[in-house]
């Protein structure tokens, strides 16, 4: 058995096992580390297929950029809110495995019964070596035949960056800060005491904005974090 085949089976085995690890790991951090291993093996597969430039891109973009981004988001999301693997519904799990097996059979049948393509192109390994290697050959094709698509990709990436910034920006960023109109009390929420309709010396009640939304009910917490004093106090507020 030639060495290429042995290396292929080694790389394929490790990549498939690490892909299973991505799906089966309980901790998402372990999943992302398994994904790094899988992508590095896929880069090895690209080298075996003569696509050295793509292998380098795979390592730089996927394992270098995207997985670091995933790990950053994993650390920004509160870890005790992460659902574990076992909380999937049993029906969902078995149905997913069954559908996966069926799809594997279908794709396998399609691969076996396919008619082989002819070697139509002129990018044989000898020709690619003649123009100076895979990177030169890919560059020539990319900047001649696919130049328009290349430019469109740059626009797509720019719009993607803008969209990511808009989506990930804090919601409070554009809101106008509310001015404080009453005393601060940390003990009760707005609207719980209607006994203070007027001020101590009989001033007119302070009008509250009727369009102002009541504080959004949140999950029960022990520590009350007061960011807006008006949400925690009232003077002459209407009961809501």
């Amino acid at each position: 058995m030639p060495w290429g085949v042995i290396f292929f089976y080694l790389i394929a085995t490790v990549s498939i096992l690490s892909a299973i690890g991505v799906v089966a790991a309980r901790n998402p951090v372990h999943s992302s580390i398994f994904l790094v291993l899988c992508f590095l093996n896929v880069a090895g597969i690209f080298v075996m297929l003569g696509a050295e430039f793509l292998a380098v891109i795979q390592v730089i973009v996927y394992t270098g950029a995207i997985l670091v981004l995933v790990l950053f988001v994993l650390m920004l999301v509160n870890p005790d809110e992460l659902p574990s693997f076992t909380d999937a519904q049993p029906l969902q799990r078995y149905l997913g495995l069954l559908l996966g097996a069926v799809l594997l059979l279908e794709v396998g049948a399609a691969i076996i019964t396919r008619t082989a393509l002819e070697g139509v192109g002129e990018a044989t390994p000898e020709n690619v070596a003649a123009v100076g290697g895979n990177v030169h050959a890919v560059g020539r094709v990319l900047f001649s035949d696919y130049l328009l698509a290349f430019e469109v990709i740059s626009i797509v990436l720019t719009v993607g960056i803008l969209g990511a910034i808009v989506l990930a920006a804090p919601e409070r960023l554009g809101e106008k800060l509310a001015t404080r109109r009453g005393t601060i009390s940390l003990s009760h929420t707005r609207g719980t005491d209607a006994e203070l309709p007027v001020g101590p010396r009989g001033e007119t009640p302070i009008k509250t904005d009727p369009n102002r939304r009541p504080p959004r009910p949140e999950a029960p917490r022990r520590v009350i974090k007061v960011t807006d004093p008006d949400e925690r106090t009232t003077i002459g507020g209407t009961r809501r």
Binding site: L54, I66, G100
Partner: protein, 102 residues
């Protein structure tokens, strides 16, 4: 099986695709679902490059480069959405995202 043919790479691609799809169907963590999508995209890249290798063309590699670029943009936007969701509903469980349903 003594010689390395395209079927080897296609079966590897199919296996990675099916594993990714199974994870997509069974997991409920948004981040793991995102990683499964990346796995599926990579498996498709393998078969694109393998077809180009079989037909002695470079188009498969070009397509794979474009797919990786789109995957990078998709990763930025998708992770931004996950971040905004986790800030809004304080969860990354897909079962908790039901604002459109209720």
């Amino acid at each position: 099986m003594a010689e390395l043919g395209i079927e080897h790479f296609l079966f590897l691609s199919a296996a990675l695709f099916v594993i990714g799809m199974t994870g997509l169907l069974t997991r409920r963590n948004l981040l793991v679902i995102f990683m499964c999508v990346e796995l599926i995209l990579t498996s498709v890249n393998i078969s694109l490059v393998a077809f180009g290798w079989e037909t002695n063309t470079l188009n498969g590699q070009i397509f794979a480069i474009f797919a990786i670029s789109i995957a990078a943009a998709e990763a930025a936007v998708g992770l931004g959405i996950i971040l905004a969701l986790s800030r809004r509903i304080r969860s990354v469980d897909v079962a908790d995202i039901r604002e459109l349903r209720d």
